[in-house]
Subunit: 207 residues, 2 copies
């Protein structure tokens, strides 16, 4: 596995969206300058990010939007559907179930878990809420590949520990806490106040 | 305004959380090694990030947790409360209103906006949902400093444009689209599928 920085991967996701929009608008070719301008970065950055994975464009001619989107989809693993479990069916969890972007990118909820007896057995969008105690069994049956953790901070580490035991290797964590996992497991954190703090920093420093 | 990278600012937010947890657990001093280990990064990175803003620790003695937390709070602008508006009271918007982390960090919802006549006039947690058409007037009255954009992608740019006209200079955008703003305005994007794509990249490349 090549060692590519997290920020390069995150920008590839951004380029993927840019290309999707361009294709929807009937645009057939695009230059690195144009991709850069749409995303408020430099074209050198765009070319550098893409160069890690091969040479996709033709000098002076730019990139074919459909071909480049296809290549980025392959790199990011978006040519297949991913089976997702949601752990914690609170407000954030429910918003995520309704978040259309996930399905659009191929991330499909296949299992919901909670520990609240009031919620267990209920259905949301045709998916039953299972007891978190049954997570291993259900995760195997549904071939879950990625788990989204939307439980309170104090429960998050224990929940992840038990899912790692069941063989799940990728987690998107919404709990405001750093989760420890073994080396062959990946956790990405979605802490929404971190972005707000970048804004408060900006407003404070630019007064 | 010093030019500090976005990733440094985002790590300061992470250190701030680490220090808060340590203080809650009665820890009085901490080394850069310990901060680094908790967050799965190098101690050199921790020291470099902090060095942009002054010298806070004592060689060999580490940092006093309370003092360092206080300094980071000042840098990030977390010593004051920030008045937040939410634009778009759909599923994501409602989850955000209930997201306790925001209030904990001093980000307080003061105004809600939507364009759906069914929603306008309703109250959530004591806050009235106003017509987006009245945004300028209400934003001034409530002294809104940051707006969270949780409207459909196709409406997001127009909503931001009009709020920029009203003098709002900081936006947290949940719509899956790149928003264009003037130079003295900042937009941070919260696209939750980008983190999922980093996980699918990881699972794909490490097979």
């Amino acid at each position: 596995m090549k060692k590519i920085s997290d920020s390069t991967i995150s920008r590839l996701s951004t380029y993927y969206r840019t290309l999707t929009n361009l294709i929807e608008n009937g645009v057939e070719t695009v230059s690195s300058d144009e991709i850069a301008e749409i995303n408020n970065i430099t074209s050198a950055q765009v070319r550098k990010d893409l160069s890690f994975f091969g040479s996709f464009g033709k000098r002076g001619l730019g990139y074919k939007t459909k071909d480049l989107r296809e290549e980025i989809a392959k790199i990011l693993g978006l040519k297949k559907k991913w089976n997702i479990a949601l752990v914690g069916v609170g407000n954030i969890g429910r918003a995520l179930i309704d978040y259309d972007e996930f399905k659009k990118q191929g991330f499909i909820f296949k299992a919901l878990f909670d520990k609240d007896p009031q919620k267990i057995g209920q259905e949301i969008k045709g998916l039953r809420i299972h007891d978190i105690e049954d997570a291993c069994y259900v995760a195997k049956e549904k071939e879950i590949e990625i788990a989204i953790i939307a439980v309170p901070a104090k429960n998050a580490q224990a929940v992840v520990d038990s899912l790692v035991q069941c063989g799940i290797r990728a987690f998107l964590n919404f709990a405001p806490i750093t989760i420890k996992v073994p080396e062959n497991v990946m956790v990405k954190n979605e802490n929404m106040s971190i972005e707000l703090e970048a804004l408060s920093y900006y407003l404070t420093q630019s007064k």
